[in-house]
């Protein structure tokens, strides 16, 4: 083992790490917002909303992320839309994530006993305050463990965007490996960095859960 390779290339690897985190954060943001809309559409959009939501979810859950990414990257230019790699990457991660996130939200909402809303209704609450004060706070608490899981999956899935040329951690470690002929050291370094980021995410999740349990 020649760890010198890693220390010498650490600045590049860290640059790649920053890109990985940035793209993942952007993907998460897109995924959370879209996911919330899709969830609401499926629950309260009537039969049309339910069907559209179900089709959306089964498409983005059913097609591998790599294929989605390549489709966005190569297909949109055919209809005259030029997609920068970064946009394709964030878009693909966000769309795929939104399908899972919407299901997490939906599951959490369905897990709340019907009586909680009914008690509020009987007291004269408006539909809006029932969502704001009773359903969403509970759904959020219930969804934290699954959301943390989804964030970790998304961060790992971000390694796939190396194929469209975004210089994130996986891509950088590949180039370090090929320029130094030391693949093992380069990939072990990348693996360790992924592990550290995801460990931090899991820890954050535990802290949030504990905080919510206390309040």
């Amino acid at each position: 083992m020649n760890w010198d390779v890693v220390t010498r290339n650490l600045p590049y690897l860290l640059e790649g790490t920053v890109m990985t985190i940035a793209v993942s954060l952007a993907g998460i943001l897109v995924g959370q917002v879209l996911g919330a809309f899709i969830c609401v559409g499926r629950i309260s959009g009537g039969r049309v909303g339910e069907t559209l939501g179900a089709v959306y979810v089964s498409f983005f859950r059913g097609v591998p992320l790599l294929i989605q990414l390549l489709l966005i990257y190569y297909m949109l230019p055919l209809v005259g839309i030029d997609v920068p790699p970064l946009v394709a990457a964030v878009g693909a991660l966000g769309l795929a994530s939104s399908a899972y996130v919407s299901e997490i939200y939906r599951g959490s909402l369905l897990a709340i006993p019907h009586g909680h809303g009914e008690a509020a209704l009987a007291l004269g609450f408006s539909e809006g305050s029932i969502w704001r004060r009773i359903l969403l706070p509970q759904a959020f608490r219930l969804s934290v463990p699954a959301l943390v899981n989804e964030l970790i999956l998304l961060l790992k899935a971000s390694s796939l965007i190396s194929v469209v040329g975004v210089a994130e951690l996986t891509r950088v470690s590949q180039s370090v490996a090929s320029s130094t002929y030391r693949p093992l050291e380069a990939y072990m370094a990348a693996g360790a960095i992924y592990l550290i980021i995801n460990g931090a995410l899991a820890l954050l999740g535990v802290l949030v859960e504990r905080r919510l349990a206390r309040s």
Partner: protein
Amino acid sequence: MTDVTASPIAGSSPEDRPMITISHLSKSFGETQVLKDINLTVHKSEVVCLIGPSGSGKSTLLRCLNFLESYEAGEVRMEGRLVGYTEGFPRRKMKNRELRALRREVGMVFQHFNLWPHMTAMENVREALVQVKGLPLEEATAKAEAMLTRVGLADRMHAHPSRLSGGQQQRVAIARVVAMEPHVILFDEPTSALDPELVGEVLQVMKDLAADGMTMVVVTHEMGFAANVADRVAFLDGGHIVEDGPPRQVFHESSEPRVRQFLQTYHERNSF
């Protein structure tokens, strides 16, 4: 069908106007008719118990009174106001805002308490005072604390529901309803989900409310409560009110075989 669209309150002052008037009420779930031509009047400060075998329609009847269940035929009036529909024919569903105003005056206590688990006992009671009545937070807090003290939970105010016994949870639920100063409280089997040794504390709170003059409609299997506290008992079977009268009459003088048979099973179960 009799004339149900005419105003029922002509010539009566608000004082002697019935609190609840149910006339020719019918309700179906799909093909199954669960309420058949129900007629019942509840006056101010009366305690009326609805008893009967399970599936007889007691809970459905109760849930029609605040329109948690809609009904197809007949009418329910709360202090003269038609519940759930606009006056006139063909009738249309009431506006949401009007329905909310009506529900504000009709409290409901559920079998499974339905407290909100992410709030403390005090916050459960305070929430509707702020969200529905629009009280300032401080005033609502003071009122919530007073209500919980009244049901004997002064020392458990800041506990979450998961830390409370079933009896305590149901008392919080009652405090949550009473704090809104409703004109009527509906109880849907309030003690059926409780361990036997916790039933007494909830019934005591209900007795106190009755003594204070609260109008109450109670679906219950607690025959002792019905016999001792109720002003009137209505026995339902198969969606009909089979017997309706003072407890003594229903429990001891009824000639209706279904009533006698139902009460017989209770006597057998409770004599050991």
